[in-house]
Amino acid sequence: MIDTHAEMVAGYVVATVIYIGYVVSLWLRARRVRGVILSAAKNRSASERDPSLRSG
C-alpha cells in the first residue's frame, strides 16, 4: 500500500474549506441585505412621520 496520507488530508481540507467558505459568503450577503431592508424600513417610517422628507 502506498503512502497517500497527505492527499487524503488535502482532499478533505479543500472540500471543507469550500463548503465553509460558501456558508460564510451566504451569511455575509444575508447580513448586508438585512441592513438594506432595515435601512429602507427606517427611512419609510421617518418619511411617514415627516411628509417633507418625501422626494418629489
Binding site: M1, I2, D3, T4, H5, E7, M8, A10, G11, Y12, V14, A15, I18, Y19, Y22, V23, L26, W27, R29, A30, V33, R34, V36, I37, L38, A40, A41, N43, R44, S47, R54, S55, G56
Partner: protein
C-alpha cells in the same frame, strides 16, 4: 409603489419579521452534524484501500459532491421548466439558489478529483478523459448561468434566458454519467459501488459510501434552503429600495 412580490408571504414582506428569521435553520444544523458524522466514519472507522491507501477515502467526499451537484442542477432545470411554463418567481428563485449550490458542489468535485488524480493517475488533469472534460464544461455553463443572471436587470428576461441555459446544462449530466460507456478514451473507472449484483468494495466501505450520499444530499438541500431565503431577502430589499426611491 411597487406591486407585491408573488411567492412571498405577508410575514416575509414585514421587514422586522424578515430580519429576525435566520437563513440557517435547524435543518442546516442537522446537515452539519450529518457531514461531521460522515467525516468521522470515513476517516476513523473505514478501512483504507489495499492499493491506493488513504487517498481512496477522498472517494467519500468526491462522489458525494457530484451527486449533490447533479441533484442541485437537476432542481435548477426542473424549476426552469416550471418557470417557463407558469412564470412563477418562486421557481426562478429556487432555480437560481440550486444553481449556485450546484456550482459549489461541482467545485468540490473537481478540486478533490484533481488532488486524488495527481497521486493515483500521476497527473492533475487529463484532457482526453471525457468525464473530466465534460464536467469542466458543466462547471462553465453553470457559472455562465449565474453571470448571465447578474447581467440582466429585467426579471422576466433574466428568468427566461437563464431558464433555457439551465435546461441545456442539465442535458449534459446524462452524457457525463454515461461517458465511461460511450468513450473508450478514459481514465475514470466503470461503476464500482453501484454495480449490479456485486459491488467491488467491502461492506464497511459501501456503508460509508452510501452514508456519504445521504449526508451530502442533506447538506445540498440545507444550502439550497438557505440560499433561497437569501434570494427572498434580496428581492424584498430591491423592492424596498425601489419603493423608497419612488417616495
Amino acid at each position: 409603489m411597487t406591486a407585491p412580490f408573488r411567492g412571498t408571504t405577508p410575514q416575509q414582506r414585514d421587514p422586522q419579521a424578515l430580519v429576525a428569521k435566520p437563513i440557517f435553520d435547524w435543518f442546516f444544523a442537522f446537515a452539519v452534524v450529518a457531514v461531521i458524522v460522515l467525516y468521522v466514519r470515513a476517516l476513523a472507522f473505514t478501512p483504507p484501500d489495499a492499493l491506493q491507501g488513504l487517498a481512496q477515502k477522498i472517494y467519500y467526499v468526491h462522489i458525494a459532491a457530484w451527486l449533490g451537484a447533479y441533484t442541485a442542477i437537476g432542481i435548477t432545470a426542473l424549476m426552469s421548466i416550471v418557470y417557463l411554463w407558469l412564470h412563477d418567481e418562486r421557481a426562478d428563485r429556487l432555480g437560481e439558489a440550486s444553481a449556485e449550490v450546484g456550482l459549489v458542489f461541482l467545485t468540490v468535485g473537481l478540486t478533490t478529483g484533481t488532488i486524488w488524480a495527481h497521486r493515483i493517475w500521476g497527473a492533475w488533469w487529463v484532457w482526453w478523459d471525457m468525464r473530466l472534460t465534460l464536467t469542466l464544461f458543466l462547471w462553465f455553463i453553470v457559472a455562465a448561468y449565474l453571470v448571465l443572471r447578474g447581467g440582466i436587470e429585467d426579471p422576466g428576461m433574466r428568468g427566461r434566458y437563464s431558464a433555457v441555459l439551465a435546461v441545456l446544462a442539465a442535458l449534459l449530466i446524462p452524457f457525463i454519467h454515461l461517458s465511461v460507456y460511450l468513450f473508450s478514451a478514459r481514465l475514470h473507472p466503470m461503476p464500482v459501488a453501484l454495480q449490479p449484483g456485486r459491488p467491488k468494495m467491502s461492506p464497511e466501505m459501501l456503508t460509508t459510501f452510501l452514508g456519504s450520499f445521504v449526508a451530502f444530499i442533506i447538506l445540498c438541500i440545507a444550502l439550497i434552503r438557505a440560499r433561497y431565503r437569501l434570494g427572498v431577502l434580496r428581492d424584498i430589499a430591491s423592492a424596498a429600495e425601489i419603493d423608497g426611491d419612488a417616495r
